[in-house]
Every structure is written in C-alpha cells, then in structure tokens.
Amino acid sequence: MKKEFRVCTRCVMDESDEAITFDENGVCNHCRDFPQRTEGIWYPGQEGQARLARLTTSIQEQGRGKEYDCILGLSGGLDSSYLAIKLFELGFRPLVVHVDGGWNTELAVKNIEKIVSHCGWHLHTHVIDWREMRDLQLAYLKSGISNQDVPQDHAFFGSLYHFAVRNGIRHVMSGGNIATESVVPPLWHWSAMDSTNLKAIHKKFGKIPLKSYPTISFFQMYVEYPFIRKMKNIRPLNLMPYVKKEALQELQDKIGYRSYDRKHGESVFTKFFQNHWLPEKYGYDKRRIHFSSMILSGQMTRDEALAELAEPLYDPRELERDKQYVAKKLGVSDDEFAEILAAPRHSYRDFPNMERQYALMKSMQRFAAGKLKLRIKNYS
Amino acid sequence: MITIVDLDMGNVKSVLNMVRHLRHDATISRDPQELGRATALILPGVGAFDEGMTRIDESGLRESLDQAVLERSIPVLGICLGMQLMTLSSEEGQLPGLGWIKARTLKFQVSNFDRPLPIPHMGWNTISGAKPSPVLSGLDENRFYFVHSYHVQCDQPEDVLATTHYGQEFHSAFQQENIHGVQFHPEKSHQFGKRLLNNFCEAIHA
C-alpha cells in the first residue's frame, strides 16, 4: 500500500517531492517561494502588455530587412502553438523550427500543419537520426534516472539553439512559461541541458556513437551563445495572461486546433514516461506540478486539481497499446522492455555531471542581480 | 475465443492485428481440435479458389469447420476468398465450395462506357446495406478496401447483406443466420473496418 503523503493546503504538491517543506499552516515551499520565484519574469497583467509591446518593437526593428525576425520552436503542443498564434497576431515573422525526435503523433503534425498554414510561415524541420536517438533513449532507460525526457528535450533545445546561431537569428521564442510550469521539485529531475551528464550516461549504457545527435555544451549554452553570439531566449507567454483552458479554446476557434487527451499527447514516449514510468517507478505524478503551477497562477482551484488527480493516469487498454508500441519502436522485445523498465533507480549524481558549474552560475547570477542590479537570465 | 482459420493463404496476421487492436481475444489456428472449441470463426483468405478448397480438405479442417458452422451454428465471417469459399462453386476453379450458403462465385465482366474496367476490382469502394444487421450498424457512411477478380452472386435475395457497384451491382456481403461473408477487407479499411469487425466480435457476446 502506498504511504499516505502529506499534501500542501494551498496547492497539490505532496511528499512525493522529497525536498518539500511545510510551514505551520501546511503551506509548501513552492507556494511560499512563488512570488520571489516569479518576480521580474512574470507579468500576466497590464505591465506585461507594455513590456511585450516594447519587446515586439525592438525585435521587429532589429529584424527589419531580414527574412526572419526570430525563430520559433514548434512542437504542436499547447504552449508553443498558442505562442505561435500570439506571435502571428503581433506581426512577427519567425522561421518555424520543428525538431522531430521520432515520437511525433498524428495530432502533433496536424497541429503544426494548421499553424504554419494559417500564419503563412516557413517550416524547417530538424530530424534527429533515429538510430542514435533510440540508442540514447535505451541508455537512459537502463540508467534508471528519473528524467527520461532528457534525450528528447536536449535534442530539441540543442538543435534549436545551434540552428539559430548558425543562421544568425538572435531571438529564439520559447513557449516556456510560469503560468503552467512554475513548480519544479529539485529532486525530480536534473537539467536536460547538462551534456556532460548525457554523454556519461550514454557512454555507460549506449551501444553506438552519437555522431549527429545535437549536444550542446555548457560553454555554448551559458557563455558562447548568450554572451558572444548574443542569442536571446524569450518567453513571451510570461508577458501575457496565459490561461490554459482559454488558450485551447482560442486555438480551436482560430485554426481548428485539435486538443490532446492529456498533456504531452504530442509524443507517445513522453506520455508513456510521464503517465506510467515515472509514477510507477518513482511515485512522481507530473500532474501535481502542472496543477500546482496552475493553482498558483490562479487558473485552477485546489478542489478541481484534486478531482482531476483522482482520475486514473492511463486507460489500461491505451497503456498496453502504448507500451507495446514504445517497445517496438525502441527495437526491443516485450520481455526485454520489461527487463529494462525494471532497471534499478539511480540519481543523475551517480554519473558525471555539471552540478557544481550550475551552482556556481546560479550564485554568480544572484551576485550580479543583488550587488550589481543586473539581471543575467538568458536562460531560465 | 475467436479463432482465425489459417489456410496459409494470405493475411491472417492483419486480421489478428485488428481484432486485438479492438481488444477482443483471438487466436490463429489450423488445428481441427482448436476449431472444435472456437466460439466464433473468421475465415480470411487471399488467392485462388481451388487452392483454398484443397487446403481445407488436405488439412483435415473440413469436418471441424462444417461441424462448427452447420451443427454448432457458431458465428462465422468469411473475408474475400474466405467468403467465396463458403459458396457452392466458383468460375475460378473446378472444385465445389463449402456450400454453406446458396450462392455462386462468378467472374467479373464489366465495362464502363465501352471501356473495359480493370480487373481486379482493386481499391476503395462503398457498400449499400440491403437489409438491417448488427454487423453493419453505424456504417451508413462507409468505404472499404476491395481487391478481387471474382464476385459472389447469392441465389436467395434475402441472404444479400450489402451490394457494391463496379461496372455492375454485385453482392459485396451476405448473411444467413450465423453465416457472414464480406468481399472487402475490413482488416485493411481503417475506421470502417474496425467498426465492422467490432460489430461482429460484439455480436458474438450478445
């Protein structure tokens, strides 16, 4: 029987987040830190509008005469799709980049098609070599670390940033946002951008060399690209009201967007990983961080969240189908796959990583922000 | 348990894939004893008529098939050649058919404005229901994948379940009590095939 976890009295985070702390009213650290965490980044109201207008003018002016004024990474998921429509309405001319990691669903490709057609933009697709992707994903599964989305996420941002820099497009538009993803339990997953960790895990469990897989180094990511190449990662959704339900409705009305049954229906693997692997193996239910974020941004009540959490994560038939598909896709038999899924749990710390460098960078950022009143936050 | 009869002629695997996708229990078999225990049969088949009849006779399946369908009266669905084998005879071959239904299999001879239509009749076509049946429920709008050079002609109009037009009207599905046959391939007809196979599988439990 599962241990009864204490749940925050304000959001729905619980002790499955091993680092959670509660105050005397039973309110968790995620709720308490929220104002501080979002200060200077999140402007869902009037001020956001003004900031977005200034940002728009500035980026579009810099892009004048060029074919594209920014790059937009588009997965077909709600965040990037909604961002696309907003950028279109603001008059941006992005080069749309889609990174195909081999797990696209029909819904995802159809949504991408609808958005790109509606906006009349150009689409560039970076197709990750599937054999390398598969090898890396199998390596991650065998490593037993909690964040199995790293191979997809790293490839996505790696390709996007390399592509932007190579093509001299400085502004990268990202669908990342506070409204639906501000709650991040530190122990649930480590940064997907740590290529040292990625390479170490692949070295131990991988079978073929990663020749074309787009890794991005710590130096490129945090020094060369932002400071030398002046690439900027921009999150416009933080400068506007972003309410999931309304955004979905708007997309449906405007372009006939088709909604996913659940978050991350754009990738079969992510769905399987987040709705089955993670809760089964680690007891992590990612809906908690998603719903808690939405409670904190005022678009969901705690009762609504609790009611949705009571729903099963997976329809058993669908799970069985997806499981077989994931095994087939990864090129392993159902038995082999069961064995791989049963790999012992490991922390990312069991493999070489850049945690010290990240810590140093964070303290430098804090120092700069505190003493020098600078905000060095090219990547948040 | 639905048993898909394996004559080693064509696509039993596709039928199994779709039935399993629909979450019904099914197995592929050519074992007379297993057929004796089946609660429903699917008889798929692609290929020549005589080849099919020869395989049924030589594999020793004839008796258990007849018994299951005619004596135990379990639901049976013939697909493509499987449907044709259920008839009395075929212009494609010399051997008599299973004769479960009063119908014959004839050669297509069709033309359209004097231009002979290509044979086989291959591709997507629609069916029109000729009588109400649970197997066709929800399929007013439909399209199915066909590929055949011979077609079935029922002797008794009341056995005709659906018709299709290709140069001429022909009987694309029949049904007489527990005996069903379809000329098209539901296992390769997307949502429409899923609907039809699911109707058949669910009718078994009803």
Partner: protein, 252 residues
C-alpha cells in the same frame, strides 16, 4: 463507385526513411515506424514501402522491420525491395503485407511473377517499372535505382509483365522523382492504354492538382507520391501530411 487511390510512397535506406531527387541525393526524413503510424492515423488509401538498397546491395528484405510496419497498418500495404524468391514472399505476406512489388527481379526472372501470381493471387503481385528518358532517344526501363539500362520500351515491358501475371503496375518516372512539377501524363496514358490491369503513377507529384490530372487524363487507378506527403512548405520541412478525405474527393 471505385475511387482512385492516393498513395504515399516511402523509401527505405539503411533502416531509415529517405527522399531522393531523380533517384539521387537521399535526404534522411526519419524513422519508418513512426511515419507509418502517422500515415495510418491519417487513414491513407494505401501505402507503398520500397527498400531502395536491398536489390542494389543484393540483400534480403528486412523481415523484422516489415513485420513491425505491417502491424501499424490498417490499410493496404505494398512492400518492394530485394524480393527474389517465393519463400521470401510467403514470409512477407504472412507478416501482414497485402502486395509485393517486384522491380529488377521482374526483369531478370519474370517467371517468378507467374509463379507468385499463381500461388498468392495476381492481385498481390505488383511490378514496379522505373523509367528514364536519355538525353537522346526514347523512354526506357531501368533497374537497380536507375543505374542499369535494360533497353526495354515501357509499354512493351508493361504488356509483358501483365502476360506473366502481374496484377498491378507502378510506373516510376526517374526524371521526375522529387521534382514535384507534375506527372508525365503522356507516358502514363500510353501505359494505361497498353494494359488492362490497374496502373499506379509515381514520380513528379507536387500537389493534389497533379494527382487529379493523371487520374482524369491518363486514367490511372492510383496516383502515388513521395515528397508531397513528407515535405511541407517552401523549405521542404519534413512534416507528414495527407489530405482529409473530403478534401481529396474534391479533386478526384
């Protein structure tokens, strides 16, 4: 009434999907299994899947991959590449494939067409004829990814494979492969007049209008295309697409 089919034709090389231009410069477009899963959900009329390495390398078909692919297809699937024997064909049909396409084998060993058609039924035996027009002279049949000239006239050869027992013919125009400027209507018309079995046009399709032209004017039973269904927009971004059924029916 029977509808003309719109068929995505996918090329396999070294385990990955590629798209060529005039049979050259293969561009990697991803993993076959996921692509086929997406095409299945788009409810395509039919799918052609051609291993362009197998025959040229004298290699057997990748049976495991074929089985994985077939299990994702709730529509007719045609496989081609490296098939030289009845035993191989039996194995491929058993894994859930409807049709097998013979290319160079049809030239080298046409008796296999007859034998296969007798055993498996002629509707399941397709012959793919690659054609190319030299700078001087008329269109001729080629094999082994266009490298081998056979000297056969496409119409004569089409009639011949029909007589051997082929159930369907694919005419693949090498000069137009990946160019997306339209089919060779004149050639396709000659072929459909020459044979009574269904003909599939391949090579040159860039949009649905091209498909409508070859269906209406050349009377082919199906129009196949590669680039159009895997690329999107002026930059040819890889994005699997296929028209909605209602959209398709506006054209033919």
């Amino acid at each position: 009434m029977l509808e003309a089919r719109a068929i995505p034709a996918l090329l396999l090389q070294d385990g990955g999907l590629v798209k060529t231009v005039k049979f050259k410069d293969p561009r990697y477009i991803g993993d076959p299994i996921n692509a086929i899963r997406i095409f299945n959900e788009k409810e395509v009329d039919e799918l052609m899947f051609l291993d362009i390495d197998a025959s040229a390398a004298g290699r057997e078909p990748d049976f495991d991959l074929i089985e994985d692919i077939a299990s994702e297809c709730f529509m007719p699937l045609c496989y081609g590449g490296g098939v030289t024997s009845i035993a191989q064909m039996r194995r491929i049909f058993r894994s859930g494939v409807e049709k097998i396409s013979l290319g160079s084998t049809a030239v080298e060993n046409p008796d296999l067409i007859t034998e296969a058609s007798r055993i498996f039924g002629k509707q399941s035996i397709v012959v793919t004829i690659d054609v190319k027009k030299p700078r001087f002279g008329s269109v001729r049949v080629h094999t082994l990814n266009g490298r081998n000239k056979t000297g056969h006239d496409p119409c004569d050869f089409a009639r011949r494979v029909e007589a051997y027992g082929a159930g369907e013919i694919v005419i693949n125009n090498i000069d137009r492969d990946g160019v997306m400027q339209g089919y060779d209507i004149e050639l396709m018309t000659r072929i459909t007049k020459a044979v009574a079995i269904p003909v599939i046009a391949l090579g040159g399709c860039g949009n649905l209008q091209h498909m409508a032209e070859v269906v209406m004017e050349a009377h082919v039973q199906a129009a196949a295309a590669g680039s159009m269904f895997v690329f999107f927009g002026p930059l040819n971004g890889v994005l699997i697409n296929y028209p909605e059924y209602s959209e398709l029916r506006k054209y033919f």
